[in-house]
Subunit: 183 residues, 6 copies
Amino acid sequence: MRRNETLLEMLLELQVLDRVPRMGYVLRGVPDAESITEHSWHVGFLVWALGGRIEGLDRLRALEIALVHDLAEVRTGDLPRVAKRYFAAGTQEAAEREVVDELLGPLGERAGELMAEYRAAETLEARLVKACDKLQLMIKVAAYERWGAGWLSEFWDNPENFPDLGIDVVRELFDELRAEHGH
Amino acid sequence: MRRNETLLEMLLELQVLDRVPRMGYVLRGVPDAESITEHSWHVGFLVWALGGRIEGLDRLRALEIALVHDLAEVRTGDLPRVAKRYFAAGTQEAAEREVVDELLGPLGERAGELMAEYRAAETLEARLVKACDKLQLMIKVAAYERWGAGWLSEFWDNPENFPDLGIDVVRELFDELRAEHGH
Amino acid sequence: MRRNETLLEMLLELQVLDRVPRMGYVLRGVPDAESITEHSWHVGFLVWALGGRIEGLDRLRALEIALVHDLAEVRTGDLPRVAKRYFAAGTQEAAEREVVDELLGPLGERAGELMAEYRAAETLEARLVKACDKLQLMIKVAAYERWGAGWLSEFWDNPENFPDLGIDVVRELFDELRAEHGH
Amino acid sequence: MRRNETLLEMLLELQVLDRVPRMGYVLRGVPDAESITEHSWHVGFLVWALGGRIEGLDRLRALEIALVHDLAEVRTGDLPRVAKRYFAAGTQEAAEREVVDELLGPLGERAGELMAEYRAAETLEARLVKACDKLQLMIKVAAYERWGAGWLSEFWDNPENFPDLGIDVVRELFDELRAEHGH
Amino acid sequence: MRRNETLLEMLLELQVLDRVPRMGYVLRGVPDAESITEHSWHVGFLVWALGGRIEGLDRLRALEIALVHDLAEVRTGDLPRVAKRYFAAGTQEAAEREVVDELLGPLGERAGELMAEYRAAETLEARLVKACDKLQLMIKVAAYERWGAGWLSEFWDNPENFPDLGIDVVRELFDELRAEHGH
Amino acid sequence: MRRNETLLEMLLELQVLDRVPRMGYVLRGVPDAESITEHSWHVGFLVWALGGRIEGLDRLRALEIALVHDLAEVRTGDLPRVAKRYFAAGTQEAAEREVVDELLGPLGERAGELMAEYRAAETLEARLVKACDKLQLMIKVAAYERWGAGWLSEFWDNPENFPDLGIDVVRELFDELRAEHGH
C-alpha cells in the first residue's frame, strides 16, 4: 500500500473499513459480525451519551479519540487479543505510527496524537474511550445473544472486558449489564 | 416497539442499526451495502477532517449532529429518496420527534434538538453535516465503482448529490471527486 | 429514477426486488432476512394452497393481487410498520399510484387497479391476500425461531399479526400456528 | 426427511426455499445469487405480464404451473444443467413424483399434476412457463452484468437459453434482450 | 461448460468450489453454510490427524482421496442425500467419470482413479475417507449448534451419519461426539 | 482461549477457520472473500497437482505442510502483510509456537515441526508450499477479476507475489498466469 497524497484518496481508502469484521465475534461463529466502522460509531455514541454526566471532561477531545482509535485497522485488519502476544514491547507503537503516517498523512499530526493519547490511557478522555471500547464490546455480545448467538460465554468470564477505569457511570452500566444479561 | 425506559435498553436496541442497509445502494445491486451505522461514522469523520479548515465552526456541536442525524432509522429503516414523496408537509418532523422520544428518551431532550437543527439546515454546523451527508454518499459511490459495481451512474447525474451549502472545503472536494471519479 | 418506457426495462428493474430485505426481520437481528420477492411468492403460494377451500373466490384475481401487492417496494424499500406513522391520510395512496405509474407503466392500468383493490381490502380476494400477508409473516417468524433466531417474541405478542378477516381456513391456520409455535 | 402430515408443517418447510441458491449463477461467481423462491416469483410475474397478450391462454392454470414448477428443489437443491446428465431416462420423473408426494402431500394431487404438465411441455400454459423460465434466466443475467458481474458470457452463447416455444411475445422479448444486452 | 485444456484454466475453474454451499446445512436454515472446499479441507485434516493411529494405512493415498473426493461438485453443485434417489444404478458413476474427464483432464487419469476408489469404499484408505466424510459432517453440526443453530436434530437421529467402517479411532470419536454433543 | 485438552475439542474449534476471511481481499473490496480453510485446500490441491512433476519431492510431507501452514490463524485471524511490520524479529515464531501448542496440543509435536519447516523455507517441500501459497493467491486474484472485482491491480504489481523459489513448474504457471490474466 502507498502513502495517501490527497485527502480524497485517503477518504476513499477509509471506505473499506466497513468490510473489516471484528475478529473476536467471527472466531466465535457470529454471522454478519460488526465492522470496525460500526464499532467505532458505537464507541463514539457511548462517549457522547455518557459524557454529559462526567465532570471535567473535554467532550470534543473524547469524541475525537473515539473517532480515530481503531483507524489503523483499515490497513492491518482487526487483531484479536491473542494475536497481540506477538508484539515485542514498543513495536506496536512504532508500527502504528508508521501506518497512521502513511494512511492519514493528509490530516497532519492530529490523528497520531489522539491515537497516542488513547494508547497511553492516562487522560480522563482516553480512559473514557478505553472503557467504552469494552462497554460497547459487551453490549454487542448481549445483543448477539439476544438475536440467537450461542458461543459467547467466554466474553462474560473475562474480567478484562469490564474495566471501569475509575469512571462511575461506566461502572454502573457494566453492573447493570452483568445483572441483566450476564451468564 | 416500546419506549426505552433505561439507557442500557436503548443502547442494546441501537446495536441493530448495523443491520440496516442504505437502500439507495441496495436498489442499485451493490452487494454488502453500507449500514446506517457505517454511513454515520463516515459523516462524522468527514465533519472532523474538514472542520479544522472552517472558520467559526463549533466542532463539538457539528460532531454531535453527525452522530445522531440518522438515528431514527433504527426504527424506520432507511427510506430512499423516492419514498419521501410519501410524506405530507410536516408529517415527517412530527413522526421523527415521536420516534426519537420513544427511542432516545433516556437521553432527554438533547438528541431531538440536534436532529431538529439538522433538519432546519440553517446553522453552519447543520449545513456542514448536510453537505457531508452527500459528500460521503458520493465518495462511497466512487469506492463501490472502484471495487466493481456497475449500475451507479445515476448518482453522478443527479445535481442534488453535490450540495456545497456555501462551504468552500466541501465544494473543493466535490469538484475533485467529479474530476477524478465522475462519469 | 425514471419512468420505464419498455416492458424489458421494467423487467430488468424488478430483478432488484430480490435485494430488498423485509425490514421487520432485519430490525430484529435475523441474518439473511427474506426479500420482498420471497415474501411475495410465499403469499401467492398460500393464496393458492388455501384458495381451493374458499367458496366463491376468484382464484385468478386473488393470485394477481398477491403477485403485485408489494411491488412498489422496488422503489421505496420495505417500510416497517412504525414508519407508516409518517404518512398523513391519503398520501400513501397518492404516492403509491405515482410509483406504480412510473415503474409499471408498460403494463397499463391493471397493476394499479389490483393494488388499489388490495389497499381497500373489501373484496374477498383482497381480504384473503391481506390475511395471507400476515399469515406468511408469522409462519416465517416460526421458521426463523426454529432455525435459531432469538428476538422475535414481539411478533407473537401483537394481535394485529393474526387477522383472519372473516376467512375460516385462515383462522384455523393461525390457531394451529399459535398452539404449536407461539410463545 | 419426513412426509409432511399437516398443511402447516409443509408451509414451514417451504420457507427454506429462500435459502436455496440458483447454482448456475453461483458457479459463475455471482455474489448473493437469486434463490429458487425469487426465480419462481419472477417467472410467475412474467407469465402474468405476458399472459394478457396470448390468445387462448388459461391464465390461472399458467400461474399455478409457474408457482409450483421448481418446488421439488426445497428437498433436492437446485441442480445445474450439467448435473442432469446423471439421470437415466424416466428416473427424474419417478423421483420428482416421490418428492412431491412427501413434501406436498397435504395439498393432494393438484401440485403433482401441474408439475407433470410442466415437464411434458405440451399445453400452451406449460410452454409459456417453460419459455418464461429461460426468459427470466436471461433477464437476470443481464441484470447481474449491469450490476458488475463479469463471467456470464457463456449464458449468452447457449442457444438453449432462448426458447420461444412458438409464443410470439416471448420471441420478441428474447430478440430485444439480445439486441440491447447480449454479447 | 467446456473441457479444460490447460492446467491453469482448470485451476481457475476450481476457485468457484468455494461458492458451492453444502446443501444439507442450507436446507436446515444455517446461515453462511460451509463450502465444498471447506468440507474437503476438514476431511483431509481429519484423515491426517487420525491417520497416524491406524496401522497399515497409506497416508499419502488417503490424503489424495480426501483432496479429490468431492471435486465433481464444482460442476454439479452439492446434491443433498435425497436427490440421490434420482440416480438409476450406474448412472452416477458414468456421469461422474465424464465430469472428471472434462474438468480435470489436464491431470490425466489419477483423479478419476482416486474417485473410483472412494466410491468403491473397499480399501482401508477409501474407508477412512468415507468415515471422515461423515465424522466431519457431525462435528460441523455440533459446531453450528454451539454457535446458535436450532434445526439440526435430524442429523443426530440418522444412524447413517455415524459409520465407523471398522476403524477404531473413528468409532471412538463418534462415541465421544454423541456423548458430549448429541441430542 | 483455553488449551484444547481433547482431539474432539480441537476439531470443533477448527471449524471456525471457515469464518476467517483472507484480509488482503477484504481490504480490496471483494465480497464473500475466501476463507483460510479454502485457501489451505487450494494450496494443498496445487501441491498435489504439481507434485508429480517435481523430482525428489516427498509428496506426503509437502501435503502435510500445506494442510497446517495457516492453522494458527484460527486463533489470530489473518494478518495482512502490512501488519507483519509489527513483529520484532523472532517474536512471531515464539508466539506461533505458543498458539500451536495450545490449539493443537492433542496432536503432539508433529504440527509444530511442519510449521517450523514451512517458516524456514529451506527444504524442497517447504519451498513448494511457500511458492504455491502465492500461486494460489494470484490464481484467486485472476478469478475475482473474472467474476467482476475491480481494485486488485496492486497484487499484480508486487513482485513478491510471484516467487518460484527455484521450482520450474511453478515458474511456468506464474508466467502463463501473467501472460493471460496479468495487467
